[in-house]
């Protein structure tokens, strides 16, 4: 005869934990759901409940040369920013973690400072600096500005990986006959790559979504998508904005998914 199974006692802490999680998830996802409803709703104003399903706002978005030019510019800028910031950010993080540099804490704080300064100030400062030095507002200036605010994300995620890095693994490779260069490419780089690319995802999104910095640095007819959307919203508030938002969200999501597929961001969580 076996004893009746014990009923698990009610755990108030666990219930509260689950409830909090559900609440946070709703807080994060509800706005997206509302935007989706708005984007698919045929009326040119926000109405609830929705009166039907239509793709007219997506048609308007994709049919507008202004939106399309802005979308391509944003994608192009964000892609270049992604590449630049992972190269610069990874190099910075390696130097900070490994370089035995004097004043390392101060330098880390300095490289992280774009995260601390409000982006609108960064944009204004760069705008003035560009004007005063006669650079003007070329696209590469915009890319440089985005890279400046994106690099700290890569530094942060790469430093996190380097912090947990067992240097004996590199030593093992060296004993086995790998020169310092080969150690870097065979061991160091593959092991920090998930951190670097995780930062790269942030960099892409920071650039693609960038509004305050871009606001100062774009020229008419050369505006990025967030600036175009802002200008559009000043006069029209219809479903095209919601459709554009949905496209942005899906693009950002696909960047994350593609990188996950290619290099496995999951490894970053495990490290």
């Amino acid at each position: 005869m076996s004893a009746a199974p014990n009923r698990r006692p009610f755990d108030a802490g666990r219930a509260a934990y689950l409830a909090l999680n559900a609440l946070l998830l709703a807080f994060l996802l509800l706005p997206i759901a509302i935007v989706l409803v708005f984007a698919l709703n045929p009326t040119p104003y926000i109405s609830f409940p929705p009166v039907g399903v239509s793709l007219r706002w997506f048609e308007k978005f994709f049919g507008s040369a202004e939106f399309m030019n802005a979308l391509w510019l944003s994608l192009w800028v964000a892609s270049v920013v992604l590449v630049l910031s992972i190269v610069i950010g990874a190099a910075c993080a390696l130097a900070l973690a490994r370089g035995n540099l004097p004043g390392r804490a101060v330098m880390t704080a300095f490289f992280m400072s774009p995260l601390m300064v409000p982006a609108i100030l960064t944009g204004l400062a760069l705008f003035q600096a560009y004007l005063l030095s006669g650079i003007g507002r070329p696209v590469w200036g915009l890319i440089a500005a985005h890279t400046l605010v994106a690099v700290p994300y890569v530094i942060r995620t790469t430093l996190a990986v380097l912090h947990n890095f067992d240097r004996r693994i590199e030593e093992a490779a060296a004993v086995l006959g790998a020169s310092p260069t080969r150690v870097f490419f065979e061991v160091t780089l593959p092991l920090i790559r998930p951190g670097v690319f995780a930062g790269g995802v942030f960099a892409f999104i920071v650039s693609f979504d960038q509004f305050p910095v871009s606001l100062f640095l774009v020229v008419p007819k050369g505006e990025t998508l967030p600036v175009v959307l802002f200008n559009y919203m000043k006069f029209d508030l219809d479903g095209a904005i919601a459709a554009a938002s949905m496209v942005s969200i899906l693009l950002a999501l696909s960047v994350v998914l593609v990188l996950e597929r290619l290099i496995g961001l999951k490894a970053y969580v495990k490290l």
Partner: protein, 326 residues
């Protein structure tokens, strides 16, 4: 497999210009020898090993391997094998890729790499694990991969930095046997760093006991255990009684003491504690005068067991009380 002799000649290493990690250490390790560096943490054993490997450059003194001065040779050109306590496997590579790494660095042709990797994995009983990642292996299996990875390049010297420290007791003992047998079969010179005196005694041909950056004594396990030269060595290895009074201090192992009747014994006293250890019992005996003594009573054959409170007499041979250098 070829093996090489190692010679440390007056090697000194300081850290931050102040802390003396290794202080004028001279060691002669014979080719094919299983040589242990034994001591508490901070005694300089790991730093000594890392200077042989080339991770640390000595402030002064020279390191010779196989008759050649390698003091200024970079790590990757020293042609050694090394096993780390944390195993240090490449987590992003499979078992086979881990083992193949050293061969790949040596630009060994691919068919030969495959053949030698298979042979190395067979040697450590890991055939069939080729495509696993290190994260999918147990600690003991990871240790074996690390061993195969180090040995597949047939290094004349194998360096081991507390390689069994992360394993549980049972597995550690098994690996001790395996590692020793493998070393004898391959004939490789093995330098083994450990803080575990039992492990050093069990495995080594010779042991260097280190303390405070200096070598206290070099000798075979029997010499180190039976004839400790200094109080530190006597204390660090196993249990010991230090006898004072008249001349130098003397060290007496607990198992050298015989329990006899109190009358006419060298010392008479009372059993305070009796720790049953399975194969033996370790007794703490408080003599009528002087400090308490440790006595090991082995349980071979019939003996009357002692319990706390029993009156006992202690006796031993003079030759078993080893005079220590002061």
């Amino acid at each position: 497999m070829t093996s090489a002799a190692i010679k440390l000649d007056q090697v000194t290493k300081t850290f931050d210009g102040r802390v003396m990690a290794v202080d004028a250490v001279t060691l002669d390790i014979a080719a094919g020898e299983f040589f242990s560096l034994l001591g508490p943490s901070g005694c300089g054993k790991t730093t000594s090993l890392r200077m042989i490997a080339g991770f640390e450059h000595p402030d002064s003194g020279r390191v010779h391997v196989g008759g050649k001065d390698i003091t200024d040779l970079p790590v990757h050109r020293r042609d050694m094998g090394m096993v780390f306590q944390s195993y240090a496997l490449f987590p992003h590579r499979t078992v086979a890729e881990n083992v193949a790494f050293g061969l790949r660095m040596r630009e060994v042709p691919r068919p030969e790499i495959e053949r030698r990797v298979a042979a190395a994995l067979a040697q450590v009983a890991l055939t069939g694990f080729e495509s696993r990642k290190p994260g999918q292996l147990s600690g003991g299996q990871q240790q074996r991969v690390a061993l195969a990875r180090a040995l597949v390049v047939e290094p004349p010297v194998l360096l081991c930095d507390e390689p069994l420290g992360a394993l549980d007791r049972k597995l550690r003992q098994q690996m001790q046997f395996e590692l020793k047998e493998l070393q004898k079969r391959l004939g490789v010179t093995l330098v083994f760093v450990t803080h575990d005196q039992e492990e050093a005694l069990a495995m080594s041909d010779r042991i260097a006991v280190m303390n405070g950056g200096k070598v206290e004594q070099v000798g075979t396990p029997t010499e180190i255990y039976e004839r400790p030269r200094t109080r530190f060595v006597a204390d660090f290895i196993g249990e010991i009684n230090i006898l004072e009074g008249g001349g130098p201090l003397r060290a007496l192992r607990p198992e050298k003491i015989r329990l006899v009747a109190p009358d006419g014994a060298r010392l008479a006293g009372t059993v305070e504690t009796a720790n049953y250890l399975g194969g033996s019992t370790l007794l703490r005996v408080q003599p009528t005068t002087g400090p308490s003594m440790l006595v090991r009573e082995t349980h071979a054959g019939e003996r009357a067991s002692r319990t706390p409170g029993d009156a006992v007499g202690l006796t031993w041979n003079d030759s078993d009380a080893v005079a220590l250098e002061s």
